[in-house]
């Protein structure tokens, strides 16, 4: 199976990366700028921390790349096994487009594979040389030229073939495994017949399904979920962070395909999203009337028939509607079918009361939820606004500012970097509220530590956002001197770095599951509780920053010292701030 990976690497597409925490990639070409000394320091430092994270662990595939790969795989199979491209395509689809699996299965038992896929060994029912044939669907007789057959030789008129294939295509991706209409036959109807017999529209749909199957059946590839984006992402499984960024600049989590949510894990995110939409009518309906397929998780509505459910192709998972268990596990052991024992016993064990009780509790804690939701949603909209501002900056303001300050746009890059940082930080901050909601109340130390980190990060971000949003405008609209502008440059670039460091800290802490709390011991507990108290205020006072001047008093009675520049709590023995490198 590994051999396949190697093959894919050959036609790798350059992956495009945006790792905001990596630092060095962005700043390395700015050495010539005077205002940047303190940035360079920072990027050197962040190098060793995050270099392991930014290794390229995914590849973005455009539609053409996907087709190319698909074609290559088909060519490879068809030449190695000496079969038609049509058959090769069916084989590959059957084995989820895994070339080595096809080889393995084929050489282990060719006959079984042929049978499973419906590749008949040309056992044609000798067609008559002349005369007429009856169509097996409309029962009319036709001359030979208006009748077609699959490999099996069962004759159907071209009109009925077109209708048959078209019906199947409109039924969904199951058309990729279409067979001869004769129930006992099983000869495959492949892409060749589709191309020969159907309308252009159907051909297009079929090709689309084939392309989708290449991405969706493959364990290592997924579509970019952004609307209108046709790219797919191939991900190296088992390699670090799931966050990927597509060409369309949409960042998402490859694992759960929700938008990127590092450092919060997928489970929390899905719970949170579920929770957010729990109020909506739509979700209520889905919950009340459907169940997710136990295998592929698509919601399934049961509208008729027995409890034996079969999910749509390609999933085809068979399960019991009552207990959602695998159907093949059912039988005498569960005490018959309709009275599925597991359902009954679950009811007896109180699992249903349990969920009822949980729902009740959720209602009671609505207030708490609203607190977190508001902050989550505010950051979300704030991020959207920042994205729009960034675009505006790129397209309009930057040129204007460049004129006014007589500086080339390349030297104004720090502004865009600040905005990119804001956008990214809003995203992280947003998800930390989902994290905070699910952090157990009783874990007091962790909560305090988390709220402290979150508060610090948020305060930093508010300062940065304020600076980029409000102060910048005085330079765009007003006539500020060169010197003033240079000061502003230093300030904004500094804030960008500091904020990035704060968030890097926050992300790292959350990804460790706040495990630092255990090692910090009792001494830091008192300090964090103090900070937590302070920061909860700063959260509501937007853009105010953390309690200023508090730094000196804190430094005296505690184990560390607080930086005057960025308020980070440094250990006692540090001579310069570990965050922003200002000396003590």
């Amino acid at each position: 199976m590994d051999s396949e990976d190697d093959m894919h690497d050959a036609n790798d597409v350059d992956s495009y990366e945006e790792d905001y925490y990596s630092g060095d990639a962005m700043y390395s070409d700015d050495d010539d700028d005077a205002g940047y000394e303190f940035l360079d320091n920072a990027s050197d430092d962040s190098d060793d921390v995050s270099v392991s994270r930014q290794q390229k662990n995914y590849t973005i595939l455009k539609e053409d790349d996907i087709r190319q790969r698909q074609e290559d795989d088909i060519t490879r199979i068809s030449s190695v096994l000496s079969i038609s491209r049509d058959s090769a395509c069916m084989l590959l689809r059957r084995f989820n487009w895994n070339v080595s699996n096809v080889h393995e299965a084929w050489f282990a038992n060719e006959d079984a594979v042929r049978k499973a896929v419906g590749m008949l060994d040309n056992i044609n029912i000798n067609p008559p040389k002349a005369g007429e044939l009856p169509c097996g669907i409309c029962f009319e007789s036709y001359t030979l030229d208006s009748v077609s057959t699959a490999a099996c030789g069962h004759p159907f008129c071209n009109t009925c073939w077109a209708a048959y294939i078209s019906t199947s295509i409109n039924d969904g991706p199951g058309c990729l495994t279409l067979r001869c209409p004769i129930p006992s036959c099983g000869a495959a109807v492949g892409v060749d017949m589709v191309n020969m017999l159907t309308s252009d529209e159907d051909k297009k749909k079929y090709r689309r399904y084939l392309l989708r199957s290449y991405i969706e059946d493959n364990r290592k590839t997924k579509w970019c979920p952004a609307p209108g984006c046709d790219c797919a992402i191939e991900f190296d499984l088992g390699s670090g962070s799931y966050d990927v960024t597509c060409y369309c600049s949409y960042s998402f989590c490859w694992n759960c395909t929700e938008e990127a949510h590092r450092p919060v894990d997928c489970e929390t995110v899905s719970k949170w999203i579920m929770k957010n939409s729990a109020e909506s009518e739509n979700m209520n309906w889905i919950l009340a009337n459907s169940k997710p397929c136990p295998k592929c998780k698509r919601p399934i509505e049961k509208n008729q028939g027995c409890m034996h459910m079969t999910c749509n192709p390609p999933c085809k998972y068979e399960f019991c509607w009552l207990c959602l268990g695998q159907w093949s596990d059912h039988g005498e052991r569960t005490g018959g079918f309709y009275a599925c024992n597991r359902y009954e016993s679950a009811k007896q064990e109180g699992a249903y009361d349990e969920s009822e009780r949980r729902r009740e509790m959720a209602k009671n804690s609505l207030e708490r939820y609203t607190h977190y939701y508001e902050r989550w949603a505010t950051n979300q909209s704030s991020r959207q606004k920042a994205l729009a501002d960034l675009l505006q900056m790129q397209t309009v303001h930057l040129a204007k500012l460049s004129e006014r300050q007589c500086q080339p746009e390349t030297q104004l890059k720090f502004i865009l970097e600040a905005w990119l940082q804001i956008v990214e930080c809003r995203r992280v901050l947003k998800w930390t509220y989902a994290y905070g909601y699910y952090l157990p109340e009783q874990e007091v130390a962790k909560r305090q530590f988390f709220e402290y980190l979150q508060g610090e990060a948020e305060a930093g971000l508010e300062r940065l956002h304020q600076c980029a949003e409000k102060e910048l405008h005085t330079y765009i609209d007003g006539n500020a001197s060169q010197e003033e502008f240079n000061n502003f440059r230093t300030k904004l670039a500094g804030l960008t770095t500091v904020t990035r460091n704060y968030f890097e800290n926050l992300v790292r802490a959350l990804e460790n599951g706040l495990s630092d709390v255990d090692s910090h011991g009792a001494s830091s507990k008192t300090s964090t509780s103090k900070h937590a108290a302070g920061t909860s205020k700063s959260k509501s006072g937007k853009g105010k920053g953390p309690t200023k001047g508090g730094g000196s008093t804190r430094a005296d009675d505690l184990t560390g010292w607080s930086c005057d520049q960025c308020t980070y709590m440094n250990p006692k023995n540090a001579t310069s701030c570990q965050m922003c490198h200002t000396s003590r």
């Binding site: 409309c138 029962f139 048959y164 209409p181 129930p183 027995c306 034996h308 079918f337 309709y338």
Partner: protein
């Protein structure tokens, strides 16, 4: 619409010809609507349905034969794969395994085969399915036989008379 009508008409003519050939199935087209059919099928021998005559109602969609016809029992029947109240039939060829090569006649044959070989693994009639699953063949057979007598036989066969 035209295609389905033409095909149904072909089937109609075929049915007239085959009537003698298959005495177990009697397919009748509605006088005024070619999309509505009824069938009388004989319960297969050596089953609890033997001796009974069961009525089926066919409702044929306009997309026929690309879409399957809807079939249900009008006669009450005690069978794991037939809904006891509505007569709905759980049979793969009437759902996802449908093929346009099937005809109304062959659907009837498939239903007769289903009567002889119930699939208790996909029950629509829970009680019936569970009897078979638990191995109580005799219990199942006597229930099925009773309902056959009650619902699928001429009045004189009723257990209460004589």
């Amino acid at each position: 619409m035209q295609a389905s009508r033409a095909r149904l008409f072909k089937e109609y003519k075929e049915v007239q010809r085959e009537k003698v050939a298959d005495p177990d199935i009697q397919l009748v087209c509605d006088d005024s609507n070619i999309f509505k059919w009824t069938a009388l099928i004989k319960g297969p021998s050596e089953t609890p349905y033997e001796g009974g005559v069961f009525q089926l109602a066919f409702s044929v969609p306009e997309q026929y034969p690309l879409q399957p016809p809807q079939v249900r029992f009008l006669t009450k029947i005690f069978h794991p794969n037939v809904h006891f109240k509505t007569g709905e039939i759980c049979l793969d060829i009437l759902k996802n395994a449908w093929s346009p090569a099937w005809t109304l006649q062959s659907v009837c044959r498939a239903i007769i085969a289903l009567m002889a070989h119930p699939e208790p693994d996909s029950p629509l009639n829970c009680d019936s399915g569970n009897l078979l699953r638990s191995g109580d063949v005799r219990g199942f057979q006597s229930m099925a036989k009773m309902y056959t007598r009650l619902a699928a036989m001429p009045k004189k066969g009723r257990i209460f008379s004589t």
